[in-house]
Amino acid sequence: MDELKDTNPDFFRKYEDIDDTEEFLHYMMLPLRQSFRVNTLKVGIDDVVERLSEEFELERVPWAKEGYFVYGEEVTNTPEFALGLIFMQEASSMIPAAVLDVQPGMLVLDMAASPGSKTTQMSAYMENRGCIVANDVKYPRINILISNIQKFGSVNVRVTMKDGRYFGRFRDTFDRVLLDAPCSNVGMIRKNYKYLRLWRQRDVEALSRLQKELIMAAYRALKPGGVLVYSTCTLDPEENEEVVDYLLSNTDARLEKIDLPLKSHEPITEFRGKIYTDEVKKCLRIHPQDNNTEGFFVAKVVKDE
């Protein structure tokens, strides 16, 4: 542990103010459990679960009916993976699409979509009907996105390559908007220690500024009566509660409490001299020890009619 702390002392100093429990540090360093989603566009959940149970131990992800934790080696070398009947996705990353409540026929914007795990999840919930505009800003990430949409068989997706802020001009257009924002990836340290090495406070601050601009554009693009989900896989308050607080302070946006069968931490309302509205307590702040997943943050925003 001491060796890890030496990797990035600034990170550990800051995180003493966010979660100073031993449990937090312990789970941050544990390898992640593997999980997948069944591709319900192609196959029934029971068919896949019955077949894979012959070789693997499966455990349902409580917040996504088609999500499973999988124990055993080489699930990516099975007929189900080869045929695109299952899609590997970290369990906490299944939360935003579950919260967004998409329906067949809706017009949906996925503002920072690559690699497409949430895009394809929404496509399945929409039964391949309606339309998802799946956007990403970077060319190499666009190719991964297209490849995953292909393997999933999602015909209701159009891929665009724009800076997410571009979508602010589509005022009051989308029934649902997902902003799974670019972030400092602290939640992914469990997957790869490189995110611990890469973490810098000045990047957190730069990302926070970008996230505020993105969430404003996302909210502008949302239809009255629509739902916007903001999520990150990081736990820095500047990229989470502060961004949501900024939206609430500058628009008529309203937050809704998220009701899912999972454990979470109380959101942060005061951090290093900054005070955020108590409304942010309606968000989900998930630390790695809560459900033995990646760390994650999710907010459900509503634009009134």
Partner: protein, 133 residues
């Protein structure tokens, strides 16, 4: 070949009656399936690779088979579990069939192959194959 002609071919080859999708022909005779949707916006990509027009018929992709699903009524070859594994490893399968067929194991569509009266030639792309023995 236009959309109507592609559907006609699909009817002839696989017994497809109804297609709830739009099809577009792209470079190298590749067919993409899509649904028209969304606002007026410059897109990088849309559609799923559905199959390819060959000299002797339409060769469906794995996703093309799933998109057609219950509409596939003709030239469907059911495999045993062992054959399914062999097929997904990239092996040809012994069957007395001619022309393009779709392969199936239980509810799993396994893509398209081409029979020559002795074997069904395997078209599973290398990056979709099972590894190992």
């Amino acid at each position: 070949m236009n959309e109507r002609e592609i559907l006609e071919k699909l009817r002839e080859q696989f017994g497809v009656e109804i297609l709830n999708l739009r099809l577009k022909l792209m470079g190298k005779n590749r067919i993409y399936a899509y649904r028209e949707c969304g606002p007026d916006i410059e897109e990088r990509h849309s559609g799923v690779y559905f199959g390819k027009i060959e000299r002797d018929g339409i060769r469906l992709s794995i996703e093309g088979c799933y998109l057609l699903n219950d509409e596939l009524r003709k030239n469907v070859v059911e495999l045993s579990r062992d054959e399914m594994i062999r097929w997904l490893r990239g092996e040809d399968i012994e069957r007395d069939v001619q022309g393009y067929v779709v392969l199936k194991w239980k509810t799993y569509w396994l893509g398209c192959g081409r029979g020559n009266g002795k074997i069904i030639r395997n078209f599973v792309p290398k990056d979709r194959r099972l590894r190992g023995d």
